[in-house]
């Protein structure tokens, strides 16, 4: 018996009280990171407590949107049906200027351009009517 969950729609994030600030920020074209209300350390992905000082309170700070490409992969089959038409596509990890890392995609680049260490900057892409994803393109100028 074969069970298929294949769908042409990409799975979407469902925000909760701990991470809504991040996803709402993306909707408003801002990359927001959690900043601990007590020790000021900045973290990503969002979580309900500061791993450094255990303070549960945090505020959302707008990040610069700049960083460097830390690592990447070029994806071929197999992958979800929703991404099949984009093969081969990249997934990258960006080391943000503020310290945290983020999983994302590189956009608006030439195939021979992708390289670890390249400066990048955030752009935003809407997925359907409710979700916006933070993506990165080669930085226009050196940060």
């Amino acid at each position: 018996m074969s069970v298929s969950f294949a769908s042409s729609l990409p799975p979407i994030p469902v925000p909760n009280a701990d991470n809504a600030g991040f996803w709402e920020g993306c909707r408003q074209r801002e990359l927001r990171l959690q900043c601990c209300a007590q020790c000021g350390s900045i973290r990503h992905p969002p979580r309900p407590m500061c791993p450094r000082c255990q303070c549960p309170e945090a505020e959302w700070r707008r990040a610069s949107g700049r960083g460097t490409l830390y690592t990447f992969t070029i994806v071929y089959a197999p992958t979800l049906a929703a991404f099949q038409s984009e093969i081969p596509y990249n997934v990258v990890v960006v080391h943000l200027e503020e310290g945290p890392f983020i999983v994302t995609n590189l956009v608006d680049y030439n195939a021979d351009q992708i390289a670890i260490g390249m400066p990048v900057e955030v752009v935003f892409e809407d997925v359907g009517d409710t979700v916006t994803l933070p993506k990165f393109r080669p930085a226009a100028t050196e940060p």
Binding site: L9, V14, T71, T79, F83, P100, F101, N105
Partner: protein, 392 residues
Amino acid sequence: MTSIGDRAAIIGIGQTAFSKQSGKTEHRVACEAIAAAIADAGLRPQDIDGIVRYDIESNTELAVIYSLGIPHLRFFAGVTSGGGAVCGTIVLAAMAVTTGQATNVVCFRARNRGKRSASGPGKFAGGRPWEKTPPQLTDAYQYHIPFGLVTPAQEMALIYRRHMHEYGTTTEHFGMVAVAQRAHAVRNPNAVMRRPLTLADHENSRWIAEPLRLLDCCLETDGACAVVVTAAERARDAPHPPAYVLAGAQAEGPIHIQLADYFQHCREETGGRAVARQLYAMAGVTPADIDAAMFYDHFSPAVLLSLEDYGFCERGGSGPFVAAGNIAWPSGVLPVNTHGGSLSEAFIHGYNHLLEGVRQIRGTSACQVPDAELVLVTSSNTDPTGAIILRR
């Protein structure tokens, strides 16, 4: 201080045939492997009073005991994670039998993951878990999957690419792992893949997620493996030479399903390194004392990282270590995955590595290391992880 060190032993091993499609349920392959392990230990089902499984295992303790006729359990537990759980099951079983919470504990993994072996809609009911990604993401995958980062191969590719960048590791080094393990599998009648492999075959195999090619990836197979753990003082009565658990340890963090957080942590510490420190301290041995290693190998470069984590070479030195022939049986200084591993024998979530570790101690491997006294077995080194050292 009380320790599990050298106080428990694996006295029974059992498995099913490994195949691309068994035509059997995960329930049945579990029962077959467990029954075989109990018989191998010279015991009967009613002698078993403990079960440890992976927490994602589809077979509950109840499903096992009512089929096998095990009347009563005193101890039962599940270990977090998939490939990170392998050796943690033995650590828990050793804790149970050395503290009197149980007498004879069965640990097992049943896994039907051949392409046509899905048994239901549940995420872990056969097939590939990622194919059953829900349309709405409520967990940490919401920071991966919307960007097309879906499969374990894609996740691990990001980690291995960074290793290449930092240390000059090459995809040819990946290929050397695949080729060495295939050469072992050629001698192993249990192995699913027994056709010899060359570096050119590896180089010509298609990309899955750069820098990983098809031949860097583990098989997807059907089958099950089980072991019986008992206290050391009872082990000498078993029909086969016991594989004593000289040491066992677990560690959690950093975990690759939160890659952003993984890279924040891995620059200081890996789970494998944390396990290695505990393990060698408990065992009172060094890497130079280990005769063979069964490293978790969902992808060939996982072996490279484990060689570094467990101190067989320095950080970044695993490529040259493998290129020097060190992991190939019979000539290498540290024969690795002498059954062929997940790349060439079968992918039973690392549990077949435990069985091969016991065979090396018993002297019954198809690629037997002469007089093997100490064998290292590890769990996946980027999940929650763990490892054990078996001694003769």
